[in-house]
């Protein structure tokens, strides 16, 4: 199966969900910077993979799926939970990409231009995460 883009999903989302993610993402990034300023880069770096947005996203996804089923006349909470579980399963694969991102950033930042090093690290995340997803689908 080839991944597809469904822009209709954007119409179902509320503006406050986008605002919540923006504010949460901003707050976590600020806190990460403050931790690094206070305790140094070794401890501050640990928070670069803090799953800040994940609980909010999982909750919104579960609510959204349950609401959809409720409107269709079904009242089981199982559907929303399954959708959140599938999302988490994908995030596990994305997590392996995070390890690749961190390894490449660690090695490339001292020797390459910052933009190039971060672009290379981002590419490493994408390649590892998508490759694992593809392997998971076919084996």
């Amino acid at each position: 199966m080839i991944p597809t883009v469904n822009l209709a999903a954007l119409r179902q989302a509320r503006w406050c969900q986008f605002a919540l993610r923006f504010v949460l993402g901003g707050i976590v990034t600020v806190c990460t910077g403050l931790v690094a300023q206070h305790w140094g880069p070794v401890i501050g770096g640990l928070f670069l993979s803090f799953p800040a947005i994940f609980p909010a996203s999982a909750t919104l996804l579960e609510q959204h799926q349950n609401e959809k089923k409720r409107r269709a006349g079904m009242h089981s909470p199982r559907r929303g939970r399954d959708a959140a579980a599938l999302d988490a399963a994908g995030a596990v694969l994305g997590g392996f990409g995070l390890v690749a991102f961190a390894c490449v950033a660690w090695l490339a930042l001292p020797v390459l231009f910052a933009v190039g090093a971060l672009a290379l690290a981002g590419l490493a995340w994408l390649v590892v995460a998508v490759s694992l997803w593809w392997l998971r689908r076919h084996w």
């Binding site: 910077g33 880069p41 399963a89």
Partner: protein, 115 residues
């Protein structure tokens, strides 16, 4: 000013990855973006500007260890939700302790080895 940049860049990158996760299908593929390096990209970009590349590289090294904690965290959340126990919000909040334990252990080992 640095904190304002962190807030704006962090918010923008987190929102961008979340938006991609909202519109792509199938669901497991969309889930990949829940493990996107959004906070890391924003933090490292600002850190490079204000503290230099070497400082940012040390942060990235620590991230390798806490990313293992992230994998364990989302794996446990996935298994618990798939077994039909708990609500997504509660499970994903309580399980944050797993990430915390791994990050604390990594911080202790890294701090001890660099002392």
């Amino acid at each position: 000013m640095e904190l304002l940049w962190r807030f704006l860049l962090g918010g923008a990158i987190v929102s961008a990855f979340a938006l991609i996760g909202d519109v792509v299908r199938p669901k497991r593929f969309a889930g990949l973006f829940g493990g996107a390096p959004s906070v890391a990209l924003a933090t490292l970009a600002v850190t490079v500007v204000y503290d230099g590349r070497t400082y940012a590289s040390v942060e990235a090294r620590s991230m390798i260890f806490s990313s293992v904690g992230f994998i364990l965290y989302v794996y446990v959340v996935c298994r618990v939700l798939a077994s039909g126990r708990g609500r997504a919000g509660w499970v994903s909040m309580v399980a944050l302790g797993i990430w915390g334990i791994v990050a604390f252990a990594a911080g202790w080992v890294l701090g001890w080895s660099s002392a």
